[in-house]
Structure formats: C-alpha cells, structure tokens
Amino acid sequence: MQSPMTYAVETRDLTRIFAGKKKRRFRRKAGSNGSEDSLGPVTALDGVSLGIKEGELFGMLGPNGAGKTTLIKILATLLLPTAGQAFVAGHDVAKDPFPIRQRINMVSGGETSGYGLLTARENIWMFSQFYGVPSKVSKERIDDLMHIFGLWDKRDAKVRMLSTGQRQKMNMIRGFVTDPDILFLDEPTLGLDVNAARVIREYVMNWVRKRAGKTVLLTSHYMAEADQMCDRIAIIDKGRILACDTPANLKRMIRTETTFQLEVDTIRDTTSFVGLRGVKNFSHKDDISKNRSHLTFILEDEGPVAEILSSITSQGAKVHSLQKSEPTLEDVFISMVGRGLD
C-alpha cells in the first residue's frame, strides 16, 4: 500500500506492545523504566503518529526506555507493529519490506557487529555486498569515507583492535556506504569521546544538507546533540510523542517560564516543592560522589525562589549555587514530565 503523501517516514497510531516475560526481569537494566511493568506486557510505543519529510534531519529525544529503538526497528523492517501503520519511502513496513530495505540503512550506538578476523575495510565491504553495491564502487566509497572520518590509518586493522570511537566510525561508514535515502541513527554517539562524536555529527549534518533527497532519523538522549543537529524534534516518553517541532519552537513553548538550576547538599525530601505556587515542574538528581543534589525548577516567574530556598535550608542543606539559565530542550522535557532526560 502506498502512503498518499510524500513523507520519507510516516507513522499512524503506531503501537508496539512486548509480551512480558519473567526472564526479562533479571536482564532489565536498573532504572530503565521503573520496575512496576517488568512482569506484564510493556507498551513500548503508544499511538505514535509522525511525518518526516524528505530531506529532513529529524530527531527523537527521550530518556532510556522511551521507545526510540523500538520505533527505529519497526521502521527498519526488523520488528512488526502491534497496531497502527508505518510507511517508509511510501511503502508499508509490514507488507512491503523489500523496496524499503533497498533504500535504508541503520547504525546504532555501541554496536558490536562485524567479524573480528576481518579488517575494518573488509567488514564494511562485506555489509555493502548485501545491498548489491558493486565491489569497485564500494571500495572507492569506503576509502573516501575513511579519509573523512579519520579512519584511514586503521583501514587494515582488525576490528578487534579498534577503539570504541574508531569502531563506531566504522559502523557509520557501513551505514553510508550503501548510499541510503533514509538513514536511521539510534544514539550514534553513545559513549563516544568528544572528538569522535563531533566528527560523526558534522558528517551527518553535511550529508543531509548537501545532498538532495536524503533523510535522517536520529534518536538521542543528549539534548544538546538533538538541539544542534535536528531540523525538527519529537519529544518522546513512555511510548508517546509529547511534542514535535523545531528546536527553537520547542524552547519557545517555555519562553514565558524561568529556569533555575540549584546545587545543594543532598536532600531527601522534595515533596515540599510539589504544590508550591508558581512552580510549574522540577527535576531532582543526586550526585552521590560529591554528596550533592542538582535541582532544576521550571518557574512561572521568579516569585517562588525565596520559598524554595527556605525549604531547602530548613532541611539543613546548604545551597552551593543558584543559577538562572536559558531554556534548553531538557527544560522543555522537564516541564512536560517532571523528570530529566537521564
């Protein structure tokens, strides 16, 4: 079935429920999504409707367990929706995967794909063969991309000899070498050093902007990355899209609000902030090693600041710093769900 509009990616009421299993309880990473849902079925996506235009660099911003990877896997024809529909390049992911697969590629952060016995170059070449890229073309592209990503020195190194950053650069080249029209990047800079992350971000931005008809869907839980890179961003939490707009417009949503960051001695009781007049929302994060708490308040105006401070000092905690800041995407997220992104 063809999608009527010319979206590169479109989803309609897309829902994905994973059957719960006892086994999964032990494997679940601590804090990924609370523990109350670890036994029953998990609704990873809950009625997601999105339209990503051709040529867009589109971001999905949300905390761990929000459903970002699940969405990417459905779009990459690796997972079937439980309900709703998804179209990539106009084709239904559930009914017509072949033409989609010709046009897409996917790179995830922390990927360990490939064979340790092969060199970086051979691994990338191998994956390009599954897309039918002629060997000569593939090798030329690999050499070019290796120069751009700064991996040329490591071209003949076995994969197991590569550092995390080099390995992720290799994965990125694997994604670009098939010249996809739509590229899915699932937290591509996860755990990378600043330099490797910067090289990757810049190449992705250039790739979308300089070539006609290229679309990127990027997921991230780094708000700065999403802000810097994306034309539009969908904020996702617990499988639902909370907002979808340009980074500037998203931040404008809380323009009338004021953001305050506080660093205080570790405090236990945050309930006193809850119904405080003028406090729209707040997030609380402990830094155990320094014995400090970081608090971010989204306030309607500066009125409640005095009351917040006295509530903290009445618990016997010292305030180490107080800062008013420009709204970031993270503040947008906090104002919507009352939690930070990580």
């Binding site: 010319t6 106009g90 590629n105 990927e111 890229v133």
Partner: protein, 330 residues
Amino acid sequence: MSAASVRRTDLRYRVGLNLRAVVGRSYPRIVGANREPSWIFFEALLPLLGIAAYVFIYQFFGGQALAVINQATLTAPFGMCGSNPCADAAQQALYRAAVYSNTNALVASVVLGGTMVAFWLNVLWSMASQLYWEKEIGNLQLYMMAPMNRMALLGGMAVGGMVMTSMRAVSTLIAGVFVFGVVFQVANPLMLLAVFFATLIALYGLGMMFASLYLLWGREAWNLSALMEEPIFFSSGFYFPLGGLFRIPGWGPAVAIAGSFIPASIGLDALRQLTLGSTAFGGTLWIFDVTTELEILVGMAVLFLILARYALAYLETLAKREGKLTSRHQ
C-alpha cells in the same frame, strides 16, 4: 521521490544482488578463517590422530589374520584358509591377498570418513549454531535489514564453509594417503564428483535448516550440537562401512537407519564404493548401489534446502513479531 531514490527491482538486479551477497557472506569464512595459521594443526593434523587410532586397529586385525594364514602346522602345511586348512600354496596366496585388500579398504574407509568428519563438524558448529551466534553479536539484525534474499545469507555461509572445509579436508586426505599408504582406484571420476557435491549440498542444506531451528531454540542448541557430535560419528559410519552395522542383529539396523538421515552416511557409502570398487569387502557391506544413493542424496539436498528456506522465513516472521532479532537492546 527524488532521483536518488529510484531503485531497481528487475530480475537481473536481484540475481546480481544475491550473488554479491553470497560472495560477501562467504568471504569471512574463506579469507578470515585462514588468517589463523593454527588451523593447519587443529583442523588438518588433529583429525589424523582420530584416523590413526582406527587405522592401527584395522591393521592389527589384518596382521592377526595374516599370521593365521601364514602359520604352517603338520595338519595344515599351508596355514589356515578360513576355518579349513589351505589346500595348497595358491589358495594360501589368494587368502593372503584378500586380507591385504580388505585391510586397505578398511583403512581407506577410515581416511575417507575422517575427511568427511571435517564437514560434519563444520556443519554442526559453524552452520547450525551460526545464526544464533550472529544474533548475539548483533549481525543478524543487520542481515535481516538488508535487501538480500535470506537464502543468499544461508548460501553464503554454506559456500564459505564448504570451500574452507574442503581445503582442510584435502590436506587431511593427502596426509592420510601418504602416512597410511592407502590405495584408491577411481573408475568413474565424474560420478565421484557428482556424489561428492550432492553430499556436500545435502549436508549443508541440513546445516541451513538447523541454523534456522537453532535460532528458535537458543542456548539449548549448543548442547544439542555437543550431543549430536559423537553418536553420529558412530551411527553414520564415519570410521567403518555403515553396511557393517546393518549386519549386527538387533539394534544395528535401527542405529544405522537413524544415522542415514545425516546425508554424510549415504554420501560416504557411495564415495567408498566409487574409490574402492563396489567389490571391496566382497561387495557385502554397501547399503545401496551408487546410483540409488546419488538419487537419495539429491532428494535430501532439495528437501533440506526447501525446509531451510521455509524454516527461516517462518522464524523471521516469528522473531519480528516477538522482537527477537536481537538479544540485547539499547
């Protein structure tokens, strides 16, 4: 859609795509595996030890039989020919020649079987468990996301395994011929090639089918492979002509028939007939004639390939529905 997104779907494109995919997937097996020089020791020389054990036993029995024939007594001046004294020197020579030729045939059977063991181990450990292992390292989802046909993926694994293992098997065979002084007589080389390839395709077809099933069974599959390794050496007649099992009353035929479902059994039987002559062992230890066995092998090859295709298609859908194409998720 823009010009960049015009992609081809015609037959020529698909054939090219899938041939490239087969070559791509076989590459790490052929090239990568030979990068570890230790294979010469583990995969070409170590099997010789297993072979040697049987060779020495067969040669010992041959020696015993000869000793009886050569042992002259007053009542049997030309030794014993079977349970009776030999009639004259000519009969004694005939019996002696028979022992030599039977011993050679047995030793040759073991060398051939030991060579075939390499393929069986490759099918068990590098085909059957492969997709499960690819899933663990995260390759499987990348393979399933690519436009290549799924049979190209399995085919690439199989071709890579066959080429790599053939190199090893040939080294074992050559070493076996030199070390144990085996004599082969090949009357019909074309038939030999046909049987060899039919055996390989049937064997790797079985491996492709297992690969899909193991994906379903997960970790238990490893135990299954370990469990199947040794008993099948025996029930498939890797180290003796399988027809011998059929002559053991009671459990013999049952075990042999069970073992015959592994294409290596029938294949080995045919290969032995073609390299030793069907009159070896007095012609009494073969299961079927070579033509029948070739037909069975071709039938098995087709059947296993079809089953592999459907098993993988079924598993792919199941895994996509249940979210099991990756073992870890970020």
